[in-house]
């Protein structure tokens, strides 16, 4: 059978470069390389591009990256979670209290912490889906509720703003090995959180680009009515992502409470913006429908490099946030510009 085909001569063939630039994470990667070169050249310690420096900035990037990936997935689905930062503290404090006040085995406390976080994520997602209020407002409320509860309950239970004594818990050594140990590359110790981060980056990328659920994430954020009409369970997808975000934050909380052997009541507060910055710098569209997990991880790397690179260059590190603000603005600007170019001048 011969099928009538028409090749449209009006369509230009996309060059390799255009195709590459269509990928959202490429812009972020170029940015990361530029910042790497910048700090390597201004570095006064000679360590920035060496193993000790790399261990330093990946240690800062890992906890940001772990949550930023989940936040990016949620943003692709068109929602925000401002309670992701405070969840780090909440879970850490909860695990700390369970082992220090109730004498619970640390593994059991970790499981309780993860389930609790999943529950909070479920409440966030359920409220967003049911009330149809902006997730910005709902998770902002969760943020403040948890922030207050973190302080108040820590004060009531410990009489201070810190829970301690996690290292005396049953099973601490085993849990520490999994969540807070180090591994050697050459002579340099790297935090195990780096391995968690890399694993989550790969798993999330696979989930997003190669599974049904990933397809639904893009669809839910791209056009939720069209997605619903095509039979995508938009509500379930969003609730699952809110739960994943809270669980990712809980994982970081667990990593910190084991590494620091305790936790401050204010831990994590303010971090939610770092996650959003990392996701946005990595090319995730704030309006949903586009983005990547690798991009969010590259965004986290950029932030890690800034935190280490600025003091290594002997610049005044009081300006770190300003630097990140400029990076955020330029990255999103450039991404949008490249995106428009690559899409062929549309939109």
């Amino acid at each position: 059978m011969s099928t009538p085909t028409t090749t449209d001569e009006r369509v230009k063939k996309a060059s390799f470069l255009t195709k590459a630039l269509r990928r959202t994470e490429v812009g972020a990667l170029l940015g990361a390389i530029a910042i790497f070169i910048l700090f390597t050249s201004t570095d006064t310690t000679g360590n920035f591009a060496q193993l000790p420096g790399i261990a330093g900035w990946t240690d800062i990037a890992a906890p940001i990256g772990i949550v930023a990936i989940a936040v990016a997935l949620l943003m692709i689905a068109g929602e925000f979670d401002l309670s992701s930062g405070v969840m780090v503290g909440t879970t850490g404090l909860l695990v700390g209290m369970l082992v220090s006040k109730l004498g619970m085995n640390i593994w059991l406390a970790i499981v309780v912490g993860l389930i609790f976080a999943a529950g909070i994520g479920f409440v966030n997602g359920y409220l967003v889906v049911k009330t149809k209020l902006p997730s910005f407002i709902i998770t902002l409320a969760t943020f403040f509720i948890l922030k207050g509860a973190n302080f108040a309950l820590t004060m009531i239970l410990t009489g201070s703003v810190r829970v301690t004594g996690v290292d005396k818990a049953d099973g601490y050594e085993g849990a520490k090995a999994v969540f807070a140990s180090t591994f050697k590359v050459g002579d340099q110790n790297f935090q195990i959180s780096l391995a968690w981060w890399l694993f989550i980056t790969i798993a999330a990328t696979f989930l997003l680009t190669r599974t049904k659920f990933g397809n639904w994430i893009f669809a839910a954020g791209g056009d939720q009515n069209a997605a619903r009409n095509a039979g995508v369970p938009v509500a379930r997808t969003k609730i699952a992502l809110f739960m994943a975000t809270s669980v990712a934050a809980a994982l970081v909380g667990i990593i910190f409470v084991l590494r620091l052997q305790g936790m401050q009541a204010g831990q994590g507060v303010g971090q939610e913006f770092y996650y959003i910055i990392a996701a946005a710098v990595g090319g995730t569209l704030l309006t949903g429908g586009a983005g990547s997990a690798i991009g969010a991880s590259i965004g986290a790397v950029i932030m890690g490099m800034a935190y280490i690179g600025i003091p290594f260059s002997l610049w005044n590190s009081d300006w770190t946030s300003t630097f990140l603000g400029v990076i955020l603005f330029s990255a999103v600007m450039i991404n949008t510009y490249i995106g428009r170019k690559a899409a062929g001048g549309k939109r």
Binding site: P4, N215, A343, G344
Partner: protein, 261 residues
């Protein structure tokens, strides 16, 4: 006579005190194109949403192949073989063509709980199916937003046909398109009919309806005002009936008098 695939008997849909549809009875047969015509505000959208499972009828019966159904979601309707192509909501612009084609019906491979998308197969099928409709895709990876309106409708129709729709509901598929693009879409409507599908074609354009339709229902102010078979319908009658007959005559004289000044 062809067998009836879908039937509404005396269906009413109200939102609070607003009655959007009432006394709607329609029959839709396999291998035919049933046109539902109506001006803006005639209640077409509500009827589509009832048919596609978005709304539940307040009263009346909804039969698919003779059995009464009660859809809770578009997913239920889809499972019963009723696919709807919404005017602007058919596709997700930023997603690639193949992802759009398979959205909600992804092909997976793998074992047990470990399943992943069979990307190559989905891309191949997308290319093939669209080629069968006369659309040659250079790159199934390109975002569907880069296609023209007619092409996007065609992808949505091809998708519904591929996934075994028995009933294909098209919500004003031509209203945002130019003449040539509309022609292309109408061609696909007939192609779908040839494949034995019961097509429901909703439009406010009697010319387009007359080109492809076998049966015509006219809606006005939420009610069914007229029904015609192709054998006893003609285009003038259709246009007149749609604009409310006398209203149009009145309008014509009014406009004439304005023009004469």
């Amino acid at each position: 006579m062809a067998n009836t695939t879908l039937e509404l008997i005396d269906v009413e849909k109200s939102f609070g005190s607003v009655i959007a549809n009432s006394g709607i009875s329609v029959k839709v047969d396999a291998s035919t194109v049933t046109c539902i015509l109506g001006d803006n505000g005639a209640g077409k959208s509500t009827l589509i949403k009832t048919l596609s499972g978005v709304h539940k009828p307040t009263k009346g019966k909804y039969l698919v192949e003779g059995t009464e159904v009660n859809f809770n979601s578009p997913r239920d309707a889809l499972d019963a073989g009723i696919a709807t192509v919404f005017q602007d909501l058919a596709t997700i612009p930023l997603m690639s063509i193949w992802r759009n084609f398979f959205i909600g019906n992804e092909i997976e491979k793998g074992f047990g709980p470990f399943k992943w998308l069979d990307v190559k197969k989905m891309k191949d099928i997308t290319k093939q199916e669209l080629l069968a409709m006369g659309i040659d895709l250079r790159d199934p990876n390109q975002p569907i937003g880069t296609l023209s309106g007619g092409e996007r409708q065609a992808v949505a129709i091809a998708r519904a046909v591929y996934f075994g729709a028995k009933v294909l509901i098209l919500d004003e598929p031509t209203s945002a398109l130019g003449v040539r693009q509309s022609g292309i879409v109408l061609k696909y409507v007939l192609a779908a009919k040839e494949r034995g599908i019961a097509v429901i074609f909703i439009t406010h354009n009697p010319n387009h309806a007359f080109l492809v339709g076998d049966r015509f229902y006219l809606l006005n102010r939420g009610k069914l005002v007229q029904s015609m078979e192709r054998s006893n319908a003609n285009i003038d009658e259709l246009t007149k009936a749609m604009a409310g007959g006398k209203d149009l005559e009145l309008l014509t004289t009014e406009i004439e008098s304005v023009r004469k000044k």
